[in-house]
Structure formats: C-alpha cells, structure tokens
C-alpha cells in the first residue's frame, strides 16, 4: 500500500529532500516558498538523518554555503523565489565554473524588481540562459504537479552529480502553494563517508588521505587552459542535450494545433485542450519537463503534422523563443501570456488558440 499524503508543493520539496538523502539545506525566507524551510525546521531532520538545515543571513550567504558543502561532495540545496534567485546569480556562475553539483529551487513570482508575491513564469530566461555571467547552463526541471515537486528533488540531485553541474527546479507560486496527493517514495539514506569517497573522491575535497590533492576553483588565468576548460563544459552541455531532454505529450497523436506549456501553464493548457477537443478542434499538449535541455528535437518531430503552435506562459514571451528555434519557422508559432501575477483561464487560452486557427486557415 503506497504511503499517500496531501501536501503543498513546497512541503513536498522539503519531504523529498529529507527522504532522498540530502545532506544540507541553506535558505532565506521569501514568499511564495517559505514553507520549504518551515517544513524542514518542523521535521527536524538533523535528529533523524543528520541533514543540516540552516537559515542563512541572506540568499547570497545561502548559495555560498551550498558552494562550500558541494565542494566537500555533499548533496546540498537551497530554495528561494525570483528576487532571491537574482541575488544568487554570482554563486550559480561560480558553482557552474567549479563544476559543483547542487540543487536550487526557484518557486517563481512576478517581477521585475520586488514585483508581486503572486505566481509567474518570467524567470525562464534567467533559469535557462544563464542566470549569471559566463558560458554556462543549469539543468532545469519544471514540475507541473505536487508529485513532480517531490520526484524532481532526487532526480535533480542525480543529474547534478552525474554531470557535476548545478540543477534547478523552476516552479511557480501555484505549484508551490497548492496541495495534491503525493506518494512518498521509499527513503534513500544519506551516503556514508565511504560511499561518498567512492563516488566523489576523484574531485571533491573529502580529506586527502592517500590520493592527490583535489582543488575546487573556477579561476584560470591562462587563456589557453581556460579555453580548453570552456570547451570541456560545452561538450558536457552537448551530452546533456543529447541524453537528458524530457517532455510529456497529451492527445498529440492526431493533433493539428499544439499548446506548448510548462508548469502551471501546462495544467491550464491541458484544460484548454479538453475545451478545444469538445468543440472539435484537434488540439494537443506538449509539456517540456526539462527546460534546459529544451526538448527541441521531439518538438520539431511532432511539429511536422501540425498547422500551428500556441506557446502559453505566465510571461511576456520567453520559452516561445526556444519553441520558434526548435521548429525553425516551419509553421506559425504564437504566444499567449499573462503577467504580473494574473493567471490565464483555460477559456482565454482556448480562445487564443481559436484565433490562431482562424489565422492559419
């Protein structure tokens, strides 16, 4: 019998972190994700698994504590919301430059600036195109349900450690605040010192013992060496793009018109597809699960049978650029979005699709 709970998305992040063997959480409160740290403090994992939970003095401190713990080969994470993640930009670049695995959760809200505490998806560019200086990428997962908030925590850690690269869960205020049924997966214990030595001993600063010294740094002043390092990073991103793109398709096999959406917009898009199908429009939903790597090849393959694509986001149009690049102008791609914390209704999404359909005919 599965262990079923009713949980908020933010609570699911916390529960999953403890149960998947996370070593340390460092964070600073901000709406709409404060329940992540509240839940961790309430569950007191330092008394059970030995996981460290610490409220830092700022987001900048949090991300640098993550850097420190990750350098030591630990499974470290932080969480925040949009303005707080902006403060972490420097740290993210250093983590990527030092090839350190970690998890950063962004339960995003409306911007720019202090903006609003209401949900938004306007951090797509920040999450997928850098979010800091230099040529780097985060591995970005976009949950669309509370179960995925739970499941993507161990997945993000696994990907981060496989590729020695920071991973991000990019959620939104709705997914963070709503409650759904969650199946708690069997717990994974925290790695022992011996297990850690075996898995990360080749690079992490775990105590030198009888091997050569490991150095964690992102500085390299010799241009020739630094170019080689950048090429190595790019080869890693190419491998990630090749192997790790994830997506879900709903009602796509006979679709002529496709909604492309992630996170809460995908849930609203699914309802819009139901409405459109009831009116005889052959609509389907394509939901990127990884935003980086973007599932470009799969979308391009699906696009061959389509007449038009509507990209639905809680932004002024960010992912739509990747959608257009994927299909290379082979068909009309429109964008429908709301801003500032307003959430689109399934009806208005369906109306936007009908308008696109009229333009395509």
């Amino acid at each position: 019998m599965p262990d079923l709970r009713l949980m908020k998305g933010n609570e699911a992040i916390a529960a999953a972190a403890i149960r998947c063997g996370c070593d340390a959480y460092f964070g600073y409160p901000i709406t709409p994700q404060s329940e992540v740290m509240e839940t961790l403090m309430d569950m007191r994992p330092w008394e059970t698994t030995g996981m460290v939970v610490l409220q830092a003095e700022s987001e900048i401190a949090s991300i640098n504590m993550v850097y420190g713990a990750a350098s030591a080969g630990k499974r470290a994470m932080t969480s925040s919301s949009s303005p707080g993640v902006s403060l972490m930009a420097e740290g993210l670049s250093y983590l990527a430059g030092a090839e350190l695995p970690c998890l950063v959760v962004n339960v995003s809200r409306g911007g720019p600036g202090l903006g609003t505490i209401q949900p938004s998806q306007a951090d797509y560019f920040m999450a997928t195109k850098g979010g800091g200086h230099g040529d780097f990428h985060l591995i970005v997962l976009a949950p669309a349900s509370v179960q995925e908030m739970y499941d993507f925590v161990p997945l993000a850690f696994d990907l981060a450690f496989t590729y020695r690269n920071p991973a991000m869960i990019l959620a939104d205020g709705v997914i963070g605040q709503m409650m759904e049924k969650v199946e708690l997966r069997p717990p994974r214990p925290r790695p022992t010192d011996e297990e850690m030595q075996k898995s990360v001993g080749s690079w992490a600063v775990t105590g030198k013992r009888n091997r050569r010294r490991n150095i964690i740094t992102s500085v390299e002043l010799d241009p020739a060496v630094h170019e080689k390092f950048n090429q190595k990073l790019q080869a890693k991103y190419a491998e990630i793009q090749e192997k790790e793109a994830r997506y879900e398709e709903l009602l796509c096999s006979d679709a002529q018109y496709l909604i492309v959406a992630y996170g809460i917009s995908a849930r609203i898009g699914q309802k819009a597809v139901e409405l459109l199908r009831s009116e005889g429009v052959k609509a389907g939903l394509f939901r990127p699960i990884t935003l980086y790597p973007f599932p470009a090849k799969s979308l391009a393959a699906r696009a061959r049978q389509l007449k038009g694509i509507l990209c639905v986001e809680l932004s002024a149009g960010q992912m739509v650029e990747d959608v257009r690049l994927s299909v290379e102008s082979a068909l009309p791609v429109a964008h429908f979005g709301r801003n500032g914390g307003i959430i689109h209704s399934p009806n208005e999404v369906a109306e936007a699709m009908k308008k696109l359909k009229t333009n395509c005919e």
Partner: protein
C-alpha cells in the same frame, strides 16, 4: 466522477482547513485531488477562499472559474461566487450575516445554520465541520469513514482526541441542512 468546489468566507472561519480535510478525505478514498488557496495580502483579515477538486481521473487545471458547488460563508463571497456556480450545481450557504440571500433559480440552493448550531453546541471552532457535514449530506462524494481517516492523517497525534467531536459536528451538519 469529478466535483469542482469553491469554499469562500472570512479568514479565520476555517475555510482553508475545511477544504484540506475534504481533499484529504478524497485521497483516503482513492481519488485525485487538488487544493488551491487564494494566498497573499487579501487573506489577512479579509476574505479567504479555496478551490478543491476531487476526481476519479487526473486533474488538469487546479484554477477554474465555474464550479459544481459553491460553499459560501459570508455576503462578500456570495456576491463574488453566486454567478460562478454551474447551471444545475449546488450553492450551500450559512445564513448568518447574509443580507441578500441567493436569488438564482437554476441551481440548487441549500442552507445550513452552522454559526448558530456551533454556538448551541458551545464550540465556535467546529463551525466548519458542521458546514462540511451539510455538504456531504447533499453530495455524498466521500464517505464519513474516509473523512475520519483524513482527519487522522492531517492532524498531529496530540489533536487526535478532538476527532470524535469533529465527527459529531459533521453528523449534526448532516441533520440540520435544509433545501
């Protein structure tokens, strides 16, 4: 089976926790559920509302604008959501503080004097469970035993002694609902 519900009233009336208990009952009954609160400044001392969906199948949008049932606990919420009940749906309200009762003829309108009944029972806090009982009498979408199981899962151990009192309040709500 799919039931889309809005519960709306003042902050502090137990609107969100009633929704949570209903959603947890759905989980215990093997249903898919979503619980989506209004969050933000309006919750602090103003109106609070929560959308609860229970369904046999995977739920698409947790955010909806038409409801099978509206459970209304103050006049502001009645003004806001009376028009959002689907034709043939249910509007359940507590007449306490209602100055302009619902006027729609194309929905089923039910009343539960839960504020008054909670006062009679000597415990204002069980108000929301009386309302929940009234709803489950009109639309028995979850069984009482699953509501109790949901309470056991959602309440901390130290509060389990309060479960029989909550169960009694639910049963009372089932008795006094009208319409």
């Amino acid at each position: 089976m799919k039931e889309e519900i809005i519960i709306a009233g003042f902050g502090g009336q137990g609107v969100l926790s009633m929704g949570k208990i209903l959603a947890y009952s759905g989980v215990m009954q093997g249903q898919e559920v979503t619980w989506m609160p209004s969050y933000g400044p309006e919750m602090r001392g103003g109106t609070a509302n929560v959308t609860v969906i229970l369904s046999r199948d995977r739920i698409s949008s947790p955010i909806i604008h038409e409801f099978d049932t509206a459970i209304i606990l103050n006049q502001q919420s009645l003004d806001k959501f009376e028009g959002a009940v689907k034709r043939g749906g249910l509007l359940l309200y507590d007449p306490n503080g209602i100055t302009a009762p619902p006027a729609r003829a194309d929905v089923r309108v039910c009343r539960v004097a839960a504020t008054e009944e909670a006062a009679k029972m000597g415990n204002a806090k069980i108000f929301n469970m009386i309302v929940l009982g009234a709803f489950l009498k009109v639309k028995p979408i979850v069984q009482l035993e699953n509501v109790v199981k949901g309470l056991q899962k959602s309440l901390p151990e130290r509060a389990h002694k309060l479960i029989p009192m909550n169960e009694q309040a639910i049963l009372r709500g089932m008795e006094i609902v009208e319409g």
